[in-house]
């Protein structure tokens, strides 16, 4: 499964919204349920699915989906 496809599935599961279509520029403002609580859950699900670990700084410093995709790639997430 491609990284983007896998990530999209996680987003749809966490935010309980099957219509989400990921774009690199997408931010928390684009998804109503994306708040600080669901963001941590999202990062834990991503961490589990891609087999990578994120520090608190990394979790807090992401600005958009593109940043998250780049971070997963930089950690060799598969």
């Amino acid at each position: 499964m491609q990284q983007n496809e896998k990530l999209q599935r996680i987003f749809r599961d966490v935010f309980d919204d099957p219509t989400i279509e990921l774009e690199p520029t997408m931010t928390a403002d684009d998804i109503a349920e994306w708040d600080s609580l669901s963001h941590v859950r999202l990062m834990l699900e991503v961490s589990k699915a891609f087999g990578v670990r994120f520090s608190a700084s990394e979790v807090s410093s992401l600005n958009n989906v593109g940043d998250l995709q780049a971070l997963i790639s930089s950690k060799g997430g598969a």
């Binding site: 109503a32 708040d35 600080s36 609580l37 669901s38 941590v40 859950r41 990062m43 834990l44 520090s55 608190a56 700084s57 990394e58 979790v59 807090s60 410093s61």
Partner: protein, 479 residues
């Protein structure tokens, strides 16, 4: 050193000229260090009074240098605890007053130095940053004169890129933008904030101290106006200071992060803290809220626990953030109020979609009346909570609360909510219209406009200071 003084203006001018006179990165770094050392020395009584700060900085650096490439969790936890313990001791938190140092010393800037040292320790341990800072870079980061007193709290990565970047000649546009920002800051700090302070002092004196025989309604009215005036004072004083230091950063071509983003346009208490003292909020989010959430959610992965974990993390984070603001018991009350506000806000956000359904809640959130009431309530709650900052003794705070009673506090909360909602409804569109209309003219006559503004602000500052018979102080450096 008072920001509204010839001393500070001369200091800034000499620093900027020395900094811009060289194209050597090392020479510029030395200019920053020497200027920072001089700036901090103006807050010290003598060499002895500076020793606790020197020891605090030294301890921080020893702990950072002593870290291995992959330090154990025990080392990181011990290092952070040691820094926090030293901070609490030096700041003489109310439960430590019996064991203080036997001489007077300065604690100004200590809170923000602590933020930076902890972030270095944690980020190094997580390998979020490359390499340990040199002693000079460490001092420039922790004690840079533009950020020493009250932030903004810059991340090491952001600081390093500015600190080490190759110098480029400063352009006329950069100078004008920086001067314009500094003029805005002085206007806010020395005129708007000073006017709010004048109102606050004059109203609060009428119901404080010995004025105990006042009718209840008059006490509540005077308290409400005083509290609102203090909020205006704090905001314009603090954001004005930020404009000044960010502007000075511009003259040094040293980009500093923004710390305010129209906080009173926030539609909730949680959103407010994403707009007010943003770099401090981000720090607490990164180094307290997120670690609590990550650790607890890993242990309790079931999504049904998310809300409870979130409330717990919000409570702890806002409680600590409130207590951090001062060393007396009043700040524990402030922390509890902040934590209550954050948790009540989150509970509302959880309960409303359940009660109205997601579409119903989304529709409610778009209604202008609901939006204005939310903005008003956010302002009102924050304003009442700030009472802790102007009643430094716990007995004084409880005495005031007793005189107002629950009904007085609720009347005050309601009045502030409705007044703010009404004023914002009228002023927000007007402010936006003015801005749109003036922005075209401002672009066309930018140079003349900036110079005129600076001259106007200087005249106004002198005029207002003469009327008020005092130079305004920067209030947040006390926290």
């Amino acid at each position: 050193m008072n920001f509204v003084s010839l001393h500070f203006i001369a200091f800034t001018l000499v620093t900027v000229l020395a900094y811009q006179a060289t194209r050597s990165v090392t020479a510029r770094q030395w200019v920053l260090l020497i200027a920072s050392a001089y700036f901090i020395s103006t807050y010290m009584l003598d060499i002895k009074s500076a020793l606790p700060l020197v020891a605090f900085l030294g301890l921080g650096y020893v702990l950072i240098v002593g870290m291995s490439a992959t330090p154990s969790r025990v080392y990181v936890a011990a290092a952070v605890c040691l820094m926090i313990g030293s901070f609490l001791y030096l700041k003489q938190f109310f439960f430590l007053t019996a064991v203080g140092l036997p001489f007077i010393y300065a604690t100004v800037g200590l809170s923000y130095v602590l933020f930076r040292i902890i972030s270095l320790i944690v980020d190094l341990s997580n390998q979020d940053i490359d390499g340990k800072p040199s002693p000079a870079a460490y001092l420039a980061y922790t004690c840079g004169f533009t950020t020493f007193l009250s932030g903004p709290v810059q991340t090491w990565t952001s600081f390093k890129s500015e600190y080490e970047k190759p110098p480029a000649p400063i352009t006329e546009g950069e100078v004008l933008r920086a001067l314009s920002r500094i003029a805005t800051g002085y206007f806010k700090l020395a005129i708007v904030a000073a006017a709010f302070d004048y109102l606050f002092q004059n109203f609060s004196v009428q119901f404080g101290g010995s004025a105990h025989g006042l009718p209840w309604f008059k006490t509540v009215s005077l308290y409400t106006v005083s509290a609102a005036a203090y909020t205006g004072y704090l905001y314009y004083n603090f954001s004005g200071y930020m404009d000044i230091v960010i502007g000075i950063g511009g003259l040094l071509q040293f980009k500093l992060p923004e710390n305010f983003n129209r906080p009173f346009s926030a539609k909730s208490f949680l959103e407010f803290w994403q707009r007010w003292h943003m770099t401090m909020s981000q720090w607490f989010k990164t180094y307290l809220f997120t670690p609590i959430m990550l650790t607890t959610m890993q242990r309790l992965p079931d999504p049904k626990h998310s809300a409870a974990i979130g409330l717990f993390a919000f409570f702890i984070t806002f409680l600590v953030m409130g207590i951090w603001h001062g060393s007396t018991a009043v700040f524990v009350v402030y922390g509890v109020l902040m934590a209550f506000g954050a948790c009540a806000n989150k509970l509302w956000q959880i309960a409303m979609p359940r009660a109205l359904g997601k579409p119903g809640y989304k529709s409610l959130q778009k209604r202008p009346v609901y939006i204005q009431l939310c903005k008003g309530l956010t302002f009102a709650f924050f304003t009442l909570a700030l009472t802790c900052l102007w009643t430094p003794e716990i007995g004084q705070l409880f005495g005031l609360a007793g005189r107002l009673g629950l009904s007085g506090l609720l009347v005050s909360l309601g009045a502030l909510t409705l007044c703010f909602a009404a004023v914002d409804t009228v002023l927000a569109p007007v402010a936006a219209m003015e801005f749109n209309a003036l922005s075209g003219l401002e672009t066309r006559y930018r140079d003349a406009w900036t110079v005129s503004r600076c001259a106007g602000v200087i005249l106004a500052v002198v005029f207002v200071s003469a009327i008020l018979n005092k130079a305004p102080e920067f209030v947040y450096k006390a926290f």
